[in-house]
Amino acid sequence: MSNSSETGNRWLLGIVVILVVALFGAICLGAAAVFMLTQAGSPAAPALGATAAPGRTSVVPTRAPATSGKKVLRLPGGSGGGGDPPTLDPALAGDAESAVYVAEIFSGLVTLDPNLKVQPDIAEKWDISEDRKTLTFYLRKEVKFQDGRPVTAQDFKYTIERAANPATASPTADTYLGDIVGVKDKLNRKAAEVSGVQVIDDYTLKITIDQPKAYFLAKLTFPTAYVVDKNNVERGGRTWTDRPNGTGPFKLKEYVRSQRIVLAKNENYYLEPKPQVDEVQFILGGGSFMTLYENGDLDSTRVFISDIERVSDPSSPLNKELFVGPELSTQFVVFNTRKPPFDDPKVRQAFALAIDRQKVVDVVFQKMPLVANSILPPGMPGYTEPGGKPPYDLAKAKQLLAESKYAGKLPDITWTTVGAGGAAAQDIQAMTAMIKDALGVNISIQQTDWATFIGQLNDPSRNPYQIFDIGWIADYADPQNFVEILFRTGSTQNWSAYSNPEADKILDQAGLEKDTATRFKLYQQVEQMILADFPVMPLTYSRQYWLTKPYVKGMIYPPMIIPRLKYVSLEK
């Protein structure tokens, strides 16, 4: 008996030993592989390493590059939250995360200065024709791609043709280049070439647009119009942006996905100021930038709401390193004017009056954003200080509800918001509670994920949501970007499905108006008309909070994506 049990035990022992050996074998193999890879990635073996080719996207986990003697600025990735940019291709970059890098690596005909004024960039100057439909750009002759090839008007022609090529699948060509004659035809495969872009000579480019549009020049400051190198794009294939050849103040030195992006200064950069730091390292990921900053491993970091209390405290040493600036964005509570009961303006106004915005901002947001009382955010051209505080009047709210056609028979309301389950965002909970208390409305919160939410919103004629919250960030610094895009009849971004023929008429007039001051007045007039109808309730103007070490000079946090790193220097 003891014999057979011994045999059984030996079997088991054997299996356990095999398992353990296999596990250790796997670990050793893995370890060996990692060791080899890290060796290969170190500067000693440049064939595979970070120093091999500029902009090499490396699969290999390389060691930290030596930074001795170099001026290196260390920042959190993207617009401060970390994460990979979806693309570095100017024709595809439609989001802020990508634009942060694209604006440094590439450049275009015109650019925005830190005050968001349109300034010459690769184009030294331009003429605008009598009918204001033709713009002639004169390019600087000294501009070169980062590989040394001079930039000519043909390159811009290629850039626009490429962005308008349906095969490029540009998500932004419509919006930013669609005013150019022929771009829409090419996008829809009705034309082989964009007729509105003509090369006069190597350094002269003529662009014709479909109607006079004062804001067109501002659209050209967006990445879609940044010049790309045909050789670079065509030889690089689908992943050509792994080694981009741009014209901007910085070039891509290294990109290790989900880990870091390193930009190095472009020695050939043509504008003043020239970049002053040698390298900018962006840390991707983004678990705990505050800790990195406090440990001295980051030179600047964005502050999110979890740390607001700490950094806002005047007795905190961090408070001296704090910067608070506008973001050119407004958060709205949107009433779907096609859905009962919000087809009645009185119900909309009643809901808006029942929400104490100041309290939401003070308590829930810890005063991080500002209370909004207009559609255009402060800092936006055409913004005027609204007279008085945002209205909050419970008695009037009740009265309006009683006067509305839904008096006494108000349907149940569902507030839709972006969220990942669990408790909804606190501001939404607070606002629904205020409405419930003040008006006795039966209101519930429904959370949905962003992909579903945006899919429904992008079709305003069928949007099923009754009431929801969303923000809008300026694409270009012109009031048209808010007032017309968000509220014109039939606009895709008209989330409230608001329609006011009179406002539409004034918007038409504004689009044709030559004089900027008059034009802005027209937009302000429309803004007042909209606010009186309550298709939305402006909730907050977002603000950005950054901490920056005292030795970092010249750092700016513009509310829009512009090339900004060339202004920065390090004094340590």
């Binding site: 356990v16 930290a64 996905r257 989900s258 579903t452």
Partner: protein, 326 residues
């Protein structure tokens, strides 16, 4: 045995077929689509239509599916549509897989090293204070949400702590004890792996401790243990040679299944600790409806689990003659 293995392997493509059809259909017919996410708030119907056409999303389901399968069979698993536009999915996964495997390996090893002895002790000292303490630790370990442990442990171990002695100007600081990733993931032999791997291992510890404890209790009540004791064997021999060995069998099975999980990343740990692994990739792909990335990851994980299951079944055949004979 060979016939058994072959029979099981024949099932592999069939299972993969079902997994892929279901995932593909969920992606296609579920709410939200990658073109909408790509366009974000700047969508207009024309652009949506145009891009859907460019990507072939306007074609019938079976054509899209067959195209996908045809490409996949040639090793082309498509391109990222949203989060890493135009990067081949194969390249993305190959880049992210090493970090996830490294993290999970260390987590499993830590789990074994901590869980097995804990369970052994708890089982031997059943219903004593020691057992209670171990069980308490295990329950606490899995009850603390990862989302809570992440910042707390980071705060304690990865931050510089400054202290000023009261009434003096003397300031001193300690830490950080463990470095953070900071854009440079250094693999297995770096202290950067310790915190994330420890948090990942909590689940493993819980499972192994409970299994080991239950196994010990069960085995210790078997007749052959009584016999061994009756023969006058020393207690140490009884426990180590007769009881522990048998209690380890189910542990081997659990570990075998965990091998399948090596390639599955963790959303919470990887995102917080900046581990450039599959969990980050999967999270980004899911929220942005990056179809092809989701498809490839689902298939990869399915294959890994199917193979791990097969491995465990074969192992059982060795361990249990009754299965081998049938």
């Amino acid at each position: 045995m060979a016939a058994f293995v072959i029979r099981r392997l024949v099932w592999l493509p069939i299972l993969l077929f079902f997994v892929s059809v279901i995932t593909f259909a969920l992606g296609l017919y579920g709410p939200g689509d990658p073109v909408q996410v790509m366009l974000g708030m700047h969508a207009n119907p024309e652009t949506i239509e145009r891009l859907r056409h460019e990507y072939g999303f306007d074609q019938p389901f079976y054509i899209q599916y067959l195209n996908y399968v045809a490409n996949a069979l040639q090793g082309n698993f498509g391109y990222s549509l949203v989060k890493y536009r135009d990067q081949p999915v194969g390249v993305l996964i190959a880049e992210k897989l090493p970090a996830t495997i490294q993290l999970n390996l260390v987590a499993i090893l830590l789990g074994c090293a901590i869980g097995v002895p804990l369970g052994l002790v708890a089982g031997l000292k059943r219903d004593t204070w020691l057992d209670l303490v171990v069980r308490g630790i295990v329950v606490a370990g899995i009850s603390f949400p990862i989302i809570f442990l992440n910042p707390v442990l980071t705060f304690i171990f990865s931050r510089r702590h400054e202290f000023t002695l009261a009434a003096t100007n003397f300031t001193f600081s300690i830490g950080p004890f463990l470095p953070m990733v900071q854009g440079h993931w250094d693999g297995l032999f770096s202290p950067k792996i310790i915190l994330p791997a420890f948090i990942e291992s909590l689940g493993v510890i819980a499972v192994l401790t409970r299994q080991m404890r239950a196994g010990m209790i069960e085995v210790l009540s078997e007749d052959y243990i009584r016999t061994a004791r009756a023969k006058g064997l020393r207690e140490r021999v009884v426990v180590v040679r007769h009881a522990m060995r048998n209690a380890l069998i189910p542990i081997a099975t659990i570990l075998g299944l965990m091998l399948g999980g090596l390639v599955a990343g963790s959303f919470l740990v990887e995102n917080w600790f900046d581990v450039p692994g599959v969990g980050q990739l999967a999270f980004d792909a899911l929220i942005s409806r990056d179809y092809y990335v989701i498809m490839a990851l689902t298939l990869l994980i399915a294959v890994a689990y199917i193979l791990a299951n097969l491995f465990v079944d074969v192992l059982y055949g060795f361990l249990d003659p009754r299965i081998r004979q049938s």
